[in-house]
Structure formats: structure tokens, C-alpha cells
């Protein structure tokens, strides 16, 4: 991690903590952003829709990464929290609130809901806390389906396309620009939260909560803060999801999605924002590849062709998690660091 390019010396703390250290970093950032923002010009609708899903999942997963990867609190309810954000945003824009205000409001509302389910963390940790979030997942989805006056029940709720300063954002490409901007902003916030005092306290709580308490960190406050921040991320992702799809119902936020998000963190590497993004990309791309190859596989094995799409996706995802846990527990982020330091040191072996 601390390997630096020869000739670069950090003379103060600011420089030491900087994300972009060299001119090349800034150059890469600049080129990368230009490539991403011009993507609608040269990518097809299918690839853009995949990118949109990746960006929305990335926001949720970064939130979960702050809670699970940095603070060490397991949450099995992230999908349900995302649903809360989706309904909150749909409800607000339906009642005339502009999208740009509804988006952060949905985040805050979800944050408060997440906070209330984080309250048991005063007494519970580890597995027990995971169980409260599991209960949250089921209870929230149940409310979504049964509170018909607000959520539309099983029929779902139509959501208008986002309207910004009177302009309605429609079409895969324009939505992509909007979603990408929000995603980049959220990544930037997350990276800065983690580098601040709050983030260091989160890490201390994760590594040893008793020692953290001894050092004077108010554990309960920071655990709740972590739940709050994580749920805000879920809420914002949910809001984007609702406006992107145009229709939401309670069955879009099942337990299996919460598990997907946890799996993405594991694959990407616990305790790394970049890793979470890698995890999202890998799992989503794997999912698309499975979707693409299953029709052909179905022809090869006609005996099992009926359920092959859904089942192969589950099997591949389950095996990916298990294999990463056993053979690469530090995830893609660690591999990425190794690759980077290899190129930094090249042509020397170390």
C-alpha cells in the first residue's frame, strides 16, 4: 500500500493522505472521466443498461462496504433499505417535490429507517446483529407489499422519470449521465468519510471494539452513524433505481439481493471502496455472461434446459463467493494492489 514511485516524497500529512498523488494519477482520472461521460456516444443500449445497473448497485454496495467492510457490522437487509429509498423518492416526486430534492430526502429517510434497525447494535454484535437486519429485510418488504395506500401493494407504483430544472431525463444514455454523476459523487464522499476521523473510528471499532472503547471512541454513536451512512447510500441508490426503472414493487427488493451485495463486497475485498466497485463489476458481468451463454447451454443439455438460466446464475454466484472466501479472502482489491506495485517496481522484482 505504501509503495511509492521513486522520487516522490510526501513532506506533509495532506500529501500522504492524498488519493491522487502524481500528475499521471490526475491524467488517468481526467481520461477515465471523459471516457465514461462520453460512453452514451459509442456504447449500445444493452451495454449502457448494464452500466446503469452497475452504477446503481455500486452505490448500495459502497454503503454496505462502509457498514460491513469498515465498521464490521454485518447487514443482511441492504436490499430492503434500498426499497425504502425507492418508495420514499417515488412518493415525494409524486407529491410535487423536485427530483433533485427528493433524491437526498430519500437518502435521509432511508438513513433514519436504517438507524432504527441499527439501534439493537447497542447490545448485539456479530451474528445477532446480522439476524436483526435479516428480520428488517423481511419486515420492510412485508410492509411494502401490505401498506397499499402508499406503496400500491403487489401491483407496484409507477414512478415518473427524473425531472431536473424542467427537463425530463429519459433514454438510457441521458439517465446514464445522471446516474454516473451521482455515483461518482457518492464514491468521492465515501472515500473522504473513510479518510476522516469518522472512518478511522469505524476501522477501530471493526478491528477491536473493546480496545476502541478504551481509546475513548463512543462505540454506540459511531455504529449508529455507520448504519445511518450506509442506509443513506442504499436510499440514494433506491431512488435512482426507482426513477430508472419507472415502476417499483416490493418484490424487487428480495433477500437474495441483499446477499448479492454482501457477495460483491467479499469478492471485491472487505474494507476497500475500490474493491467494492470491482466486486460489483465482476459479479454483474458474470451475471450477464451467464445470461448470454445459457440459451446455448440449454441446447447442449436439453434434459435440464428448463431452469438453467436462473439456476446457473445462482450456482455460479454461490461458487464464486465460496472460492473467493477460500482462495482469495482479501478480494480483488488486494490483487489490484499487487498488480499496481508490480508495475511501479518494474523492472525490479521488489
Amino acid at each position: 500500500m505504501s509503495l511509492k514511485i521513486c522520487g516522490i516524497f510526501n513532506v506533509d500529512y495532506r500529501k500522504d493522505m492524498a488519493i491522487f498523488r502524481t500528475k499521471f494519477h490526475w491524467f488517468a482520472l481526467f481520461v477515465g472521466l471523459i471516457l465514461l461521460f462520453t460512453a452514451p456516444l459509442y456504447l449500445g443500449l444493452y451495454l449502457l443498461s448494464v452500466l446503469n445497473m452497475i452504477c446503481i448497485s455500486a452505490i448500495t454496495v459502497i454503503g454496505l462496504s462502509i457498514l460491513t467492510g469498515y465498521t464490521g457490522q454485518i447487514s443482511l437487509g441492504q436490499a430492503a433499505f434500498m426499497g425504502v429509498g425507492a418508495y420514499a423518492s417515488a412518493f415525494l416526486t409524486d407529491n410535487g417535490v423536485p427530483f433533485l430534492i427528493a433524491l437526498p430526502c430519500a437518502g435521509i429517510i432511508t438513513g433514519l429507517v436504517g438507524l432504527s434497525f441499527g439501534l439493537p447494535s447497542l447490545r448485539l454484535k456479530g451474528f445477532y446483529l446480522a439476524m436483526t437486519t435479516l428480520a428488517a429485510q423481511f419486515i420492510i418488504v412485508w410492509i411494502m407489499i401490505h401498506w397499499e395506500s402508499v406503496t400500491g401493494g403487489i401491483h407496484g407504483l409507477p414512478v415518473s422519470k427524473p425531472r431536473i430544472f424542467g427537463l425530463v431525463v429519459t433514454g438510457e444514455g441521458n439517465l446514464f449521465i445522471l446516474i454516473l454523476s451521482v455515483t461518482i459523487a457518492m464514491i468521492y464522499f465515501a472515500q473522504n468519510i473513510i479518510r476522516s476521523k469518522i472512518g478511522r473510528n469505524f476501522i477501530a471499532i471493526r478491528d477491536n471494539d473493546i480496545a476502541a472503547a478504551l481509546m475513548g471512541i463512543d462505540i454506540f454513536k459511531y455504529k449508529l452513524l455507520s448504519f445511518f451512512i450506509s442506509s443513506i447510500y442504499a436510499g440514494i441508490a433506491g431512488s435512482l433505481w426507482a426513477h430508472y426503472l419507472g415502476n417499483i414493487n416490493g418484490e424487487q427488493f428480495p433477500l437474495i439481493d441483499s446477499i448479492w451485495y454482501l457477495g460483491m463486497i467479499i469478492v471485491g475485498g472487505l474494507g476497500s471502496i475500490v474493491g467494492s466497485v470491482f466486486g460489483v463489476i465482476l459479479i454483474r458481468v458474470l451475471g450477464e455472461v451467464v445470461m448470454m451463454i445459457t440459451p446455448n447451454l440449454g441446447k447442449l443439455f436439453p434434459a435440464v434446459s428448463d431452469g438453467i438460466g436462473a439456476s446457473l446464475g445462482l450456482i455460479v454466484f454461490g461458487l464464486t463467493i465460496i472460492l473467493f472466501l477460500i482462495f482469495e479472502p482479501r478480494g480483488l482489491a488486494y490483487r489490484w494492489e499487487i498488480i499496481k506495485s508490480y508495475f511501479r517496481l518494474w523492472p525490479f522484482p521488489y
Binding site: 412485508w142 428448463d306 454461490g318 465460496i322
Partner: protein, 294 residues
């Protein structure tokens, strides 16, 4: 009053099933300190495999059961050796995710080989109802309830009277100490997974005869967790008592509150109980209280 008695009875029957599921989860936890989120999916595989043996291969019930047990032993051994053993000593999130990964693979396998709508077993337990004191019992439910109670008794005897059972309890207490007294901890782990796997798969066959052979059988695995926590994660008797309590409350709530809530109370009641247990009494009714305050 008769209606209430009927509701209570069906609650107890459901509770017996929850208890049986909880027992399987507790078995694993007691000796390996891993919470097995894949239990429901083991049950699912059991249900469908039994269907294949019974209907597609046209075997007799007892031979099918023996076949099921053989598969259970194999699955238990494979899971322990290739997934759980490499992860011993890892943080709790890792163990949870590993069992969740297993559960996804099983779910996929089930969907791959037995896709499509639900199926039904031919009746191997007669289903004409039994009337005792004005209450109507389904014979199937009653037999399954009795089998649950029998399983609990057998496991109670196993853990208190046999040397293997005692070795398993010693392993649960402390892996290293157990090893230093000559207990082969790896063997105990493998045995635990075999026992729990067999329990799950036979449970699946029983459950399939009541609920039909559908993928939703696996939801019972997650809904057993409230019973596990209410009973206290260490206690076998606790699992039975808590299973009965959760099952009864679920049936009572869905009988009397469904009209007000618009239906579907049974999907959410166990989780509401779970939240209450965790907030009020996190170590359950019979659990060991670990004191570690921050």
C-alpha cells in the same frame, strides 16, 4: 374455544417442524460455532431427492429413506472437508457468507434438476383426519410431530449418554482442549455435518409430505432462526420449546390478525418475534450468557 384449540394444535404441529429445523442448526453451532444458513436448502434437496427416489425411481419408502441418508452423509462430508474446514478460525462474516454461498449453490442445483411447478408425493402416510376430544388432527401432522419429539429425545440421549455425544460437547466447549484430551476434532466436525445433514434431509422428506414438494420449503430454514435464538443457541431443549412457541404464535397471529393486516402475517411473525427476542433477551430462554460489555 374449539376453534382456539384447533389453532393451538396446528400451531404446535408447525412448532414441531421449526424445532426440528432449529435442532439441525444448533447441532452445527454447538460443535463448530458456525451458523448454518444453508440448512433450509439442505431440507429442500432432501425433499426433492426423496421425490425422485419415491416417484421417479419408484422405490419403496424405507429404501428411499436409506438412499436419502447415504446422500446426506456424502453431502455432509463434502461440505465439511472442502468448504468449512479451510475456513476454521475466520471471522463470523466469512463463515456466514460461506454457508450462504452453499445455500445458493443448492438452490441452483434444485432449480436445475427439478424445475417448474410444485409436485406431490404419493401418500405414504394416510391423511384421513383423527378426532380427539372434538379437535380434528391431521394424521400426517401428528405423525411428524411425534417424529420431531422422538428426534429430540434421541439427541438428548445421544448428547448425555454416549461417548461420541460427550466428545461433541467437549469439542463445542473448546477445540484445543478437546484435541488435547485425544478427541479427533476433525472427525467430530465431519460427524456433526453428517448428523445435521441427515436430520435436514429426512426432515425435508417429512415436510414435503405436508407442504408439497415446492422450492418454498427452503424458507423454513430461515424461519427456524427465530426459534434458534429464542431457545438460546446452545440448548437442545430450548430449540424444542422455542420452536413450539414460535410456531404457535405464528399460527395464532395469522388466524386472528390476518383480517386486519391484509393477510400474510405468517411470513413476518417469526421475524417480529426475532426482533423482540434480540432486543429484550439476546441470549434466549435457555442460552448461556456470555458477558462481554463494551
Amino acid at each position: 374455544m374449539i376453534i382456539f384449540g384447533q389453532v393451538l394444535m396446528s400451531g404446535l404441529m408447525l412448532g414441531g417442524i421449526y424445532g426440528l429445523m432449529a435442532l439441525g442448526i444448533i447441532l452445527i453451532y454447538k460443535s463448530t460455532k458456525v451458523f448454518n444458513f444453508a440448512h433450509g436448502e439442505l431440507v429442500l434437496i432432501g425433499t426433492f431427492l426423496f421425490y425422485s427416489f419415491l416417484v421417479e425411481l419408484k422405490l419403496n419408502v424405507w429404501i428411499s429413506t436409506i438412499g436419502l441418508l447415504l446422500v446426506a452423509v456424502m453431502i455432509g462430508l463434502i461440505l465439511e472437508r472442502f468448504v468449512l474446514r479451510p475456513l476454521i478460525g475466520q471471522p463470523i462474516l466469512i463463515a456466514i457468507m460461506a454457508t450462504i454461498g452453499i445455500s445458493l449453490v443448492f438452490k441452483g442445483v434444485q432449480n436445475l434438476f427439478w424445475p417448474g411447478p410444485g409436485r406431490f408425493y404419493p401418500k405414504f402416510i394416510s391423511d384421513d383426519p383423527l378426532t380427539i376430544g372434538g379437535l380434528i388432527f391431521s394424521r400426517q401432522h401428528l405423525i411428524i410431530f411425534l417424529i420431531c419429539i422422538l428426534a429430540f429425545l434421541l439427541f438428548a440421549i445421544f448428547f448425555n449418554r454416549t461417548s461420541i455425544g460427550l466428545a461433541m460437547r467437549a469439542t463445542a466447549e473448546d477445540h484445543r482442549t478437546a484435541q488435547s484430551t485425544g478427541i479427533d476434532v476433525n472427525k467430530i466436525f465431519a460427524l456433526t455435518w453428517i448428523l445435521s445433514g441427515s436430520l435436514a434431509m429426512v426432515g425435508g422428506a417429512l415436510l414435503g409430505s405436508i407442504a408439497g414438494v415446492t422450492p418454498s420449503v427452503s424458507e423454513m430454514g430461515l424461519k427456524a432462526f427465530p426459534a434458534v435464538l429464542l431457545g438460546g443457541v446452545e440448548s437442545i431443549a430450548g430449540a424444542l420449546v422455542a420452536g413450539l412457541i414460535v410456531g404457535t404464535l405464528e399460527v395464532i397471529c395469522s388466524a386472528y390478525l390476518d383480517a386486519y393486516a391484509g393477510g400474510g402475517m405468517k411470513d413476518v411473525v417469526p421475524y417480529i418475534i426475532l426482533i423482540f427476542v434480540l432486543v429484550i433477551k439476546p441470549y434466549g430462554l435457555f442460552g448461556l450468557r456470555e458477558i462481554e460489555r463494551v
